[in-house]
């Protein structure tokens, strides 16, 4: 009996000795490359890390992963869906062809990415007060984040109406059961947010902080909100505040302000910073024609081209300088800097040719090769850039001072403020009169007539900058403008239109291009993504979906 006890003891020693010999492995393992939340939100550097995370563009650079802070996404969603043009691969056609449905990918992408950023904002705001740092800086950072969140919510409301609304990080259960909050309530909240944040923000930033929200940027966002809400008096006063800051100016250049050389121009009120190779954008791949190594995603319509006045400052319907058989002559200089025209535009020493009778072998941008209009989006093509076209580093100018001036004028008119020549000279004429454009000054003071001029000016000046859908929706003219046939380049003289064979043309010899069918009763509000309603039974759907 004694022997067997000794044996047992020895055995146990052996078994556990084997373990002891090698050192029992600890089962406490911590992440090697992430911060544990328990130890985060303590110091100023934590706050900076968290703030940067809020600014990071959620959708990244991938096509289809739409995000409000990415230029490419804005061109897809807010320009290629309008009367300014379209995109060749039908990635966003459903927004105006009468088929928009709740399962549509782009709707889901923008919704999701926007809420991801809101969640990061909420997380920042929920935790930042625990950080030990200079209280002024803390307030300032918090204000920045509140502005970003407000911009996100504004866009959600603008396109979806009532939306799920939260100012705190949700639990999974809360997120899966949240109801939609009335749009008016969300808008009230965010206007108040912006009003509170604006005084806490600096008017100007140091060179190192360029790109972070400033007072002017926040005011300009508030201006957009108020315009959309038709709160004209408040909008006018807000825009006046921006002008009175005295730090923005119309840049004499027009083409370069959309390129890398135009970065940190005094005209930029709000930019989303890009950095070549490290934080680049495939913008140029999408914009450049095939013959210039790009994918030529976007095609402006002739309907946009027609909006550009002649150099005498008159629209083409009135100007004597306009020759309907030679429509590209004598036009607003911005036309040639915004749109690539067959046989006219030269980029990097190479002529852009898109005519259907050109040799398709020689010219890859020839219209019949792809669903194109024959026009190229040229505004952002940066001829000096030599890096990878998928990694372009030019900033995305989200709000320019030109917009501020034109919006100021619009809210003056709409709020019933008397229009004077001084007002015109301080706004629209500054925009038209920049050194590189030099269009004749506007002298019209009649509010109705001026509105037509202003809207045309706005469309031309801000063409393809991501504002057209916003304008069409808030003016409630999308159902009129986005229903019907759109044309592309002029292919043949009107006299030959009836017999022209290569492609379909209209009576004036313009290439027939696309048809849209915007539904007035449905498409002004986008559908709540089906995937959201699949998980959350409390989410109602917008009418018509």
């Amino acid at each position: 009996m004694k022997n067997s006890n000794i044996l047992t003891r020895d055995l146990l020693l052996i078994i556990f000795g084997w373990c002891g010999l090698t050192g029992c492995e600890s089962l406490d393992k911590d992440p090697l490359d992430s911060l544990s939340k328990g130890t985060f939100w303590k110091t100023e550097s934590d706050a900076v890390l968290g703030l940067t995370g809020v600014y990071k563009v959620v959708g990244g650079t991938q096509q289809g992963n739409y995000d409000l802070w990415s230029q490419l996404a804005c061109l897809y969603l807010f320009e290629a869906t309008t009367d300014n043009g379209f995109e060749k691969d039908n990635h966003v056609t459903d927004f105006n062809n009468g088929s928009l449905a709740s399962t549509y990918g782009p709707v889901k992408a923008l919704w999701g990415n926007t809420y991801t950023q809101i969640s990061r904002c909420n997380n920042f705001i929920d935790n930042i007060d625990a950080v030990q740092m200079n209280p002024d800086e803390l307030t300032e950072m918090k204000a920045e984040v509140r502005v970003i969140r407000a911009y996100d919510y504004f866009n959600l409301c603008f396109y979806w109406g009532d939306v799920p609304f939260t100012t705190h990080v949700l639990t999974v259960d809360e997120a899966n059961n949240i109801s939609r909050t009335a749009k008016s309530e969300v808008i009230e909240f965010l206007i108040k947010e912006l009003q509170e944040a604006i005084p806490q923000l600096p008017a100007a930033r140091s060179d190192d902080e360029y790109g972070r929200i400033t007072k002017g940027g926040a005011l300009a966002i508030l201006g957009r909100v108020l315009m959309a809400e038709k709160r004209w008096v408040e909008a006018r006063d807000i825009y006046k505040q921006i002008i009175d800051l005295g730090i923005y100016a119309i840049d004499p250049r027009f083409k370069q302000i959309f390129e890398e050389k135009g970065e940190s121009s005094k005209e930029h009120v709000l930019v989303s910073v890009r950095m070549q190779d490290v934080y680049g954008t495939p913008m140029l791949r999408g914009c450049h024609g095939f013959d210039f190594g790009g994918y030529h995603w976007f095609s402006p319509y002739n309907e946009l081209v027609e909006e550009f006045e002649c150099i005498d400052g008159k629209p083409i319907s009135e100007s004597l300088l306009y020759d309907s058989e030679n429509p590209y002559a004598n036009r607003d200089p911005r036309l040639y800097k915004t749109i690539g025209i067959n046989g006219l535009t030269v980029f990097k020493g190479k002529l852009y040719v898109s005519h259907p009778d050109s040799s398709a072998v020689k010219y890859q941008d020839q219209v019949t090769r792809r669903p194109w209009s024959g026009y190229l989006l040229y505004k952002f093509s940066d001829g000096d850039y030599t890096g990878a076209i998928t990694q372009y580093g030019g900033d995305f100018p989200m709000i320019r001072y030109a917009e501020v001036l034109l919006s100021y004028l619009e809210s003056c008119i709409e709020s019933g403020t008397t229009v004077t020549q001084d007002l015109l000279d301080a706004t629209i004429n500054k925009v038209r009169g920049r050194a590189e454009v030099q269009m004749p000054a506007v002298a019209e003071t009649d509010p109705v007539k001026l509105t037509t001029i202003l809207r045309r000016e706005r469309r031309v000046e801000l063409a393809w900058e991501g504002l057209r859908l916003y304008d069409l929706f808030r003016w409630r003219i999308a159902d009129d403008k986005l229903k019907g046939t759109f044309t592309g380049m002029k292919v043949c003289p009107a006299s030959q239109a009836a017999t022209y064979k290569t492609v379909k043309v209209n009576a004036k010899g313009y290439y027939f291009c696309e048809e849209t069918n915007f539904r007035a009763d449905v498409d002004y509000l986008w559908p709540v993504p089906q995937s959201e309603r699949d998980v959350n039974p409390n989410l109602t759907q917008n009418t018509g979906y």
């Binding site: 078994i15 406490d28 709740s102 990061r120």
Partner: protein, 1086 residues
């Protein structure tokens, strides 16, 4: 200790020794105060002689001095042995040593003669006859006769022969013993590997499938994971690519236990240490055990939920050094590829698509005529990008395997090297690897032995790639499917035809490549210590290390005058992983009367660390330089990370056998894992099982059934393979953004995951009932039914995007798998004709039982009451014939036109069809992606020296949607395929056409919706192997001085029967097509 390595090299050199060897060979020995044994060893090392002796009767420990130069073996042995009272006898090169009779007058030693017949009375040559407890023995000659000298009166002779029941017969003073060998009932005597040990198959109470060497040898697989297809029931094997190096298969045991990231891959242990099946050479595998139920797998606790696969590698065996060479070579061709339409057909079709949309025609009649005529191949080509790509490589493959094995009573070893070189049918796709295995066992004393293993593999997979578009051969294939034949390849001016810069031929001609290589080493050392009789301690320490290197180079490429792909870019990633395993366990075996006990207790711990580092640069000075430092420093990027986990476990097993017929077994494991919070860290996984060998009962008297066993088991298993830190609240780093006039990137962080603070492992409860039947030694069958319920499934609760974060997994799901596994083996011999058939069949019903608080999660394909991987979508009702049809039918989700897919209105807000088809009410489960049935059959007939091996497998009750370029014409410019010719047109408004009207589609169209229209039946039956072999007769073989020679020719994947999309393989789907492989090879034994 013997220098094993030296010995086998020496043996190898002397393979060519012939019969006159004893006379010719002169040996020199010069040793002082050496044991006889060491002298014998020296001789063995110098020559091909092997000495056989029983150390208990022959004294080889005596010390001698011997100095002989250039003497014959006999001269040396006379001096060395005879003077020390030892006799010797030559058997070829084997020398048998016995104690001199004269020196031991008391011992009664004699010669025993006899004949061995089979049950039919035919003589059996080649039967091994050995004296029990020694290595001393002989083999029966062609007439079945044997003669064995120096056998003591009380010796026991063991007669063994492959496929026959081994017999032990006491000599008991007889000098003549005749034996009748009977066929072994298949597998009953077989010993199978179980967790931390082995067990006799007859005593098993769990559900274990085994695959042995014999089947493995025939298959000549390139990745061991392919081995299991069709060979065992209850295992579903899916190979998703035919590309060299990527042709490994995924394995699922008994359905899909979980839908979580914990995964459904079984735990694989090679010689007791967790590893990866594909890291070893299939030729090195001795046996594979698949532990399917909880009774057999519970001893692996928290990692066993998906089943466990135990691999035993071949070990050295006592006896003369044996050398085996196996070699085969052949070539592969694509087995099934889609047929792409010719350029002029493409032109007509895209015109049709444009017409359907009311748009302008892209090609004129003249253009189409030019395509047809082929007069201007630069501008109007018919370039078959896809066909040319899959025919660009030579597909040549060769494999060599060399194996040395040998040993004596104390030491044994096995050493093998393998080499595989595999070219794909796409040029520049290649995989090659070297395997080495070294297994050595040594007995330090009678009760203590050590074993050492080294297993290594170095492999490289290379492939061409697109530049910046899609990685590797898959990316090229994808674009080859996309780029129409109307776009030229390399043109006469040296430039390439391109579609948005994409050029298959340009990419293939360029220096673009992806190379992935891995170096793997598994080393282990262990001991077995028989502390006292019936008590054994086993210890094992293993270290697995692997590093992988991934390198991708995009050169600059001048595509044409207008487009140059640039800048060049190199990305390199290196990963290191190491796993340290320590385990020790104690076995206790005791038989008291009719009670037999086996007890096992043990401890193990594993710790794993992983780290990776990635770097990239661009703008290389030219396309011939692609090492990181050659790139421009201006855009150098790097990243890296790592993780750790650890596992600690205690385990035990008790077997109790009463009277050889009542079997009882209990297993348990207590696991602690670092992946769980402290409060949930430890878990207990028990199992019990019982068996009853009915055929052992006295009342059981059947002439037909000679073996009948029923068994049942219950147990719990776990699955811990979730993220490494799921319970911890973490802020993800790397959420960076730039600021500043002179841009600078700032580090950022964000909470991207909602942690689950009380997470614990998934647990799987398995109930199994089974029966094994043996019929007249010719048929062996087993049937198992099981009910497997996995609960606490780590479910990534689908959260509304409003959450803005990904919820971490929670223990929130329940899945059940119920099924039947059937196995049948039959073998027979009719004259010179022999055959064996083994078949298996499995059925599994997979069902989600619970899903947190919801009943469905559409985006993950999870629906309570339905199978995992369900396909959820619309029901299609053919195509719209005309506008009247459109107008009179339910309103479609998109504005419909004639020729569009017609989706059925199956519901509405009131529960009845509402005249409108929408996502809320008109989708349902239309199919599932995991097969319900799988089956396999192996048929091996043989006639005289010829043998044939046919292996087939299949699955049924499974669906698949190909999607993308494979399913859609004119999607981002993609090609139509020939099957799409059967489409709707105005002229032929066929509602049942295979394809809707042609349109240039963007991805939002109805044909991209999941519907029954695009879903395919992915069931198939694949004849996976046919191999014909010939074994050369001994008389021929002996003339060329080898002991065995076998040659074969075969074809892999010759036929597949299915109803799947034409040109596509139902198993592989899109991507690299399946390969058909023709080969020939030989095996030589020296």
């Amino acid at each position: 200790m013997r220098l094993t390595l030296f010995m086998f090299l020496a043996s190898f050199i002397q393979l060519t020794a012939n019969n006159s060897y004893a006379q010719k060979t002169k040996l020199s020995v010069d040793l002082k105060n050496a044991s006889i044994e060491s002298v014998l060893l020296t001789i063995e090392n110098q020559s091909a002689y092997k000495f056989i002796y029983n150390k208990e009767t022959v004294d080889v420990e005596s010390r001698v001095n011997i100095q002989q130069k250039e003497k014959s073996i006999k001269e040396i042995l006379d001096i060395l042995l005879v003077e020390n009272g030892i006799s010797y006898t030559f058997y070829g090169n084997q020398v048998l040593l016995t104690k001199d009779k004269v020196a031991n007058p008391l011992q009664q030693n004699q010669t025993v003669l006899g004949k061995v017949n089979d049950a039919a009375g035919a003589p059996l040559p080649g039967v091994t006859v050995v004296v029990k407890g020694s290595t001393y023995g002989t083999i029966t000659n062609t007439d079945g006769n044997y003669s064995i000298t120096s056998v003591s009166d009380d010796a026991i002779l063991i007669f063994s022969f492959v496929g026959m029941r081994t017999q032990e017969i006491s000599v008991a003073g007889r000098t003549s013993i005749h034996v009748v060998m009977t066929e072994d009932a298949i597998g009953i005597e077989e010993v199978v590997a179980v967790g931390y040990g082995t067990q006799k198959k007859i005593n098993l109470t769990g559900a274990i499938a085994t695959i042995n060497e014999k089947d493995i040898e025939k298959l000549n697989v390139t990745q061991p994971s392919q081995l299991l297809a069709g060979l065992a029931s209850g295992i579903t094997v899916t190979q998703s690519s035919g590309q060299p190096g990527k042709d490994g298969a995924s394995l699922r045991i008994r359905g899909l236990g979980t839908f979580s990231s914990a995964g459904t891959s079984p735990l694989v242990l090679i010689d007791g240490i967790s590893s990866d099946l594909n890291y070893i050479n299939a030729n090195d595998i001795e046996s594979i055990s698949i532990l399917k139920d909880a009774a057999s797998a519970a001893i692996y606790g928290t990692r066993a939920a998906n089943g466990v696969i135990l691999i035993e590698t071949k070990k050295g065996k006592e006896g003369v050094t044996k050398v085996t060479y196996q070699g085969n070579f052949g070539f592969q061709k694509p087995a099934e590829i889609p047929k792409i339409v010719d350029s002029w057909v493409y032109a007509e079709m895209i015109n049709e698509a444009l017409r359907n949309a009311g748009s302008n025609q892209q090609y004129t009649e003249a253009d189409i005529a030019k395509f047809k005529s082929g007069e201007d191949p630069d501008n109007y080509p018919n370039k078959r990008h896809y066909d040319d790509l899959v025919e660009s490589g030579n597909g040549f493959q060769s494999e060599h395997y060399l194996n040395f094995t040998g040993g004596n009573a104390k030491n044994s070893y096995l050493f093998s090297v393998g080499y595989l070189d595999q070219n794909g049918f796409i040029d520049e796709t290649n995989h090659n690897h070297y395997n080495v295995l070294f297994n050595a066992n040594t007995k330090i004393s009678d009760n203590f032995s050590l074993k050492v293993k080294f297993q290594g593999r170095t492999g490289t997979t290379t492939e061409p790639t697109t530049i910046r578009s899609g990685d590797g051969a898959d990316g090229l294939l994808d674009y080859a499917l996309k780029i129409p034949n109307t776009i030229a390849g390399k043109k006469s001016d040296g430039y390439y035809g391109q579609q948005t810069g994409f050029t298959i031929e340009g990419w293939m001609d360029s220096e673009a490549f992806i190379e992935s290589s891995s170096n793997r080493m598994d080393v282990s050392a262990g001991f077995e210590w028989d502390i006292v009789k019936s008590l054994k301690l086993t210890g094992l320490a293993g270290y697995n290390y692997d590093n992988t290197k991934y390198k991708r180079f995009w050169p600059t490429l001048v595509v044409d005058q207008t487009y140059t792909e640039k800048p060049s870019e190199l990305t390199e990633t290196r990963t290191e992983n190491s796993l340290l395993t320590l385990q020790s366990f104690l076995n206790f075996n005791k038989t008291i009367g009719i009670h037999e006990f086996h007890v096992l207790v043990g401890f193990s711990q594993e710790s794993n660390t992983n780290s990776w580092l990635q770097a990239s640069r661009d703008n290389f000075p030219n396309n011939a330089l692609y090492e990181i430092s050659a790139g421009a420093p201006s855009n150098q990027l790097n990243s890296g990370s790592g993780y750790e986990w650890a596992l600690k476990s205690f385990f035990g097993r008790i077997n109790y056998i009463l009277n050889g017929k009542y079997l009882l077994e209990a297993n348990t494991r207590y696991d602690g894992s670092s992946r769980f919070p402290e409060s949930k860290r430890w878990g207990l996984f028990p199992s019990v099982s019982a068996g009853w060998i009915v055929s052992q009962e006295e009342f059981f008297q059947s002439k037909i059934v000679n073996h009948l066993k029923v068994r049942a088991s219950w147990g719990k298993l776990g699955n811990q393979n979730i993220g490494n830190y799921p319970y911890q609240q973490i802020m993800t780093l790397g959420v960076n953004a730039p600021f500043g006039v002179s841009e600078k990137i700032y580090s950022g962080t964000a909470a991207t995951v909602v942690p689950s603070t009380n997470i614990t492992w998934e647990s799987t409860r398995v109930i199994n009932a089974g029966m094994d039947i043996g019929l007249g030694n010719k048929v062996n069958a087993s049937i198992d039914i099981y009910d497997k319920l996995t609960s606490d499934i780590l479910y990534n609760v689908t959260a509304s995007a409003v959450l803005g974060m990904t919820p971490s997994v929670q223990n929130a799901g329940v899945v059940s798998n119920r099924g039947i596994d059937l196995n049948l083996q039959h073998r027979n011999k009719i004259g010179d004709f022999t055959y064996s058939i083994s078949g298996n069949f499995s059925y599994v019903k997979n069902e989600v039982k619970e899903l947190a608080t919801v009943t469905q999660d559409i985006s993950s394909g999870l629906f309570v009451g339905h199978s995992l991987q369900s396909i959820y979508g619309y029901v299609a009702d053919g195509l719209f014939v005309d506008q009247t049809d459109v107008n009179s039918y339910a309103v479609q989700p998109r504005v419909a036109a004639p020729g569009d897919i017609k989706l059925m209105d199956i519901g509405g807000p009131e529960g009845v069809p509402d005249g409108k088809v929408n996502a809320d009410y008109d989708r349902k489960i239309i199919g599932n992606q995991f097969p319900k049935y799988s089956y396999g059959l192996t048929f091996t007939p043989g006639y005289k020296n010829f043998d044939l091996f046919i292996n087939l497998y299949g699955v049924a009750g499974v669906n698949k949607i190909l999607g993308g370029f494979a399913d859609n014409a004119f999607y981002q410019g993609s090609n139509p395929q020939e099957w799409m010719m059967d489409r709707w047109t105005k002229e032929n408004p066929n509602p049942n056409a295979s394809y809707p009207r042609f349109l240039i589609v963007g991805g939002g169209e109805q044909q991209f919706y999941q519907s029954t229209f695009v879903m395919q039946d992915a069931s198939f039956l694949r004849i996976s192997n046919i191999q014909l072999g010939y074994t050369f007769p001994k008389i021929v073989v002996e003339r060329i001085n080898v002991s065995g020679l076998y040659v074969f020719v075969g074809v892999k994947n010759p036929f597949t029967f299915d109803h799947f999309r034409k040109g596509w393989d139902p198993e592989m789907g899109s991507g690299y097509p399946p390969a058909r492989y023709f080969n020939a090879g030989l095996n030589i034994n020296f």
